[in-house]
């Protein structure tokens, strides 16, 4: 079976409009051969989960720079579980203090990419993790 194209929803939750990072990453993933859906600005967790469901996403990439991650991520992960989307890989990029990393990991956020992360590192991570999930039983 040939590997299918990785489908990624890039989402910008919360009230913040700083979309440089989200757009650069969306483009880098697309240039790396992934199918990228960018939600645009100011998406609620409900809207992001609905987009992931509709687009049959393998990955959700969140961009949060405003400090709202500790409120948004728990809500999003809860909704994903409710909809049976727990196998979707969730990664987060933004301004995230060290102290918040363990809490985000515990929620099920697979990776946190902070300023200075290379696009290649993000691409490699997504390829590796989605391949691992595809190889896992039950998928």
């Amino acid at each position: 079976m040939s590997p299918s194209i990785i489908r990624v929803v890039i989402a910008k939750p919360g009230l913040d409009g700083h979309d440089r990072g989200a757009k650069v990453i969306a483009r880098a993933l697309r240039d790396a051969g992934m199918e990228v859906i960018y939600t645009g600005l100011r998406q609620t967790p409900e809207q992001i989960v609905a987009a992931a469901l509709q687009e049959d996403a393998d990955v959700i990439g969140l961009s949060i720079l405003s400090g709202a991650h500790n409120s948004i991520c728990p809500r999003l992960m809860e909704l994903l579980r409710e909809k049976g989307l727990d196998d979707v890989l969730v990664v987060l990029g933004g301004i995230i203090p060290d102290a918040d990393l363990p809490g985000l990991k515990a929620l099920g956020v697979s990776a946190v990419f902070r300023p200075g992360t290379s696009m290649q590192e993000i691409i490699d991570f997504i390829r590796r993790e989605t391949a691992a999930k595809a190889g896992a039983p039950g998928r």
Partner: protein
């Protein structure tokens, strides 16, 4: 000797030659191109005495949590020698949402202070005399609402509106272009901007009614030339709008100010500020026939580049900021904010913010750079860069003019697409190591080693709850009928052609919240949805 095998170019991708000389600036004409400081076209500065008369204003942008907490930080900054205040609002305030709105979840007090009503504004400036300081407020879509709150606080302190001074950013065009904190569609948004111009020209004559901002355009990924061109073309759009609203050019343009980024490419930035002054003077004279010299003089604030700060080896950010600040000073900035070393990680701690202010004080008092005006004027390299930036900017002006102006260009997604392209190109240069960043793609500290940990400001999660409870109490205790009447008068003004400021002042005096005032106008004008471009 063989040159190193790297691209010699500015951070914006502009190729740099090995050596500049007289042949680099053919036909150089001192009087026409430069003029002395204080003389047309103001390339060398707007004051004949430069910083010998008045140093730049050291204005540090600050705000977080509740109005009480931020009020304390302001008093600290003033006692540490800051010469002006600059208010950072949180996202709910910037987006015209009350703390109890669902979209405010997790955002209250996070990247700025929450100001929901006049009561919060009173607390924010408690013990600070508005007659004696100047305040800059970074607020755009709800600028008239926040400005109305500030005016009512001044009124209650007994300060004369005709004497107070400060700045509201009030620059909606760059929100559509870059920062994306818009509420209403472009055209009614412009109406709010010109309402402020008109109101201030009559009642608050010393207030800077707009800070036309390239900062956010640059942070979003624009090159130096794009920052320069889009910002100044926005300025032209505002002048045009003011004229169309019936104002005389010289009645409001002298109160317009600008705001630029101080990025990492030292000489290109200095040239950018010099080119900005020259272009503005010429455009105001040629396009608008401005007669008052103050309309020709571009005054600007600058801030070091947040986007250049790295989470890796954060102490390095002190050096970046100092050098960026130096470029702004050599370029003749009128006021300056220096970023703190910890801002790629969180909002700054008080200690980090103080160090950032000290950086400016060292520049001002120890280095001697403030002694001679425009010390780089006449440098072959800097003059050539200044010319190149002016020329590149003129190209963008032509493109935007041909599209029918900046609003039309924005509606077509033109500046947004240009900036996204530049952002992607820069990121690719970093990936391919054509652009080196210390600690990020060169001189990387071994994992787990050498990465200094810096203390991080923790925003009290209780701040949001306090603001929620306060809003609830406010709604209970104020005169609900008075609020209702004021909001319906506001809708009436917005639906017609009357200036919206008097109705906003009445709504503020009745303690209407920012969400209520913005919602009233949402009902009249609707909300803007952008076409996401990647």
């Amino acid at each position: 000797m063989k040159e190193r095998d790297i691209p010699f170019q500015t951070i914006s991708g502009r190729p740099i030659e090995r050596l500049y000389g007289p042949q680099s600036i053919p036909g150089f004409d001192y009087g026409a191109e430069l003029g002395d400081p204080g003389e047309f076209p103001f390339t060398r500065g707007i004051h004949p005495s430069g910083y010998r008369g008045k140093l730049w204003t050291m204005r540090q942008f600050a705000g977080y949590g509740t109005p009480e907490e931020t009020n304390r930080r302001y008093r600290e900054l003033l006692s540490a020698g800051a010469t002006g205040l600059s208010v950072a609002f949180d996202l709910p305030t910037l987006m015209g949402r009350d703390p109890d709105h669902p979209l405010s979840l997790g955002e209250v007090g996070k990247c700025g202070v929450n100001v929901t009503s006049l009561a919060d504004m009173e607390t924010l400036f408690d013990g600070i005399s508005l007659a004696d300081i100047t305040t800059s407020m970074t607020i755009n879509s709800p600028a008239p609402m926040i400005f109305a709150m500030y005016l009512v606080v001044a009124e209650r302190q007994g300060a004369d509106w005709r004497a107070i001074s400060g700045t509201i950013q009030n620059d909606i065009l760059k929100e559509f272009i870059a920062q994306k904190e818009y509420i209403y569609p472009p055209r009614p948004s412009m109406r709010l901007v010109t309402d402020v111009f008109t109101f201030c020209s009559r009642q608050v004559p010393r207030w800077n009614t707009i800070s036309v901002s390239g900062y956010h355009i640059r942070e979003a990924g624009a090159t130096a030339a794009q920052e320069l061109a889009f910002t100044l073309r926005d300025g032209v759009e505002y002048v045009q709008a003011g004229v169309e609203a019936g104002l005389q050019v010289d009645a409001f343009v002298p109160r317009m100010s600008f705001f630029f980024n101080a990025h990492s490419d030292f000489f290109e930035e200095i040239a950018k500020y010099r080119a900005a002054r020259r272009i503005w003077a010429r455009v105001m004279q040629d396009r608008f026939g401005a007669g008052d010299e103050r309309s020709l003089k571009l005054r600007f604030h600058s801030q070091t580049a947040g986007v250049s700060l790295t989470a890796q080896q954060p102490m390095n950010n002190v050096m970046r900021t100092a050098l960026q600040a130096l470029s702004a000073v050599l370029g003749g900035t009128n006021s300056l904010h220096t970023n703190s070393l910890d801002e790629a990680l969180a909002l700054p701690t008080a200690a980090a913010a103080t160090l950032a202010l000290r950086t400016q004080q060292i520049l001002a008092y120890e280095t001697g750079v403030a002694a001679a005006v425009d010390p780089l004027g006449g440098s072959y390299f800097v003059e050539r860069l200044t010319r190149d930036l002016e020329e590149e900017s003129a190209g963008y002006f032509r493109t935007i003019d041909n599209m029918g102006g900046m609003i039309a260009a924005i509606e077509r997604g033109y500046p947004q697409r240009e900036i996204a392209e530049s952002a992607y190109r820069f990121q690719q240069d970093v990936e391919r190591r054509r652009q080196l960043i210390v600690g990020v793609n060169e001189f990387i500290a071994p994992a787990g080693d050498g990465e200094e940990r810096v203390p991080i400001l923790q925003i009290d999660e209780e701040a949001a709850n306090r603001q929620l409870r306060r809003t609830e109490r406010l709604r209970r205790e104020r005169d609900g009928d008075q609020v209702k009447r004021a909001l319906s008068a506001l809708c009436e003004a917005a639906a017609g052609t009357a200036n919206t400021m008097p109705a906003l002042l009445d709504a503020v005096r009745a303690y209407a919240t920012i969400g209520e005032m913005c919602d009233a106008l949402r009902d009249v004008w609707g909300e803007y949805q952008e076409q996401a471009i990647i």
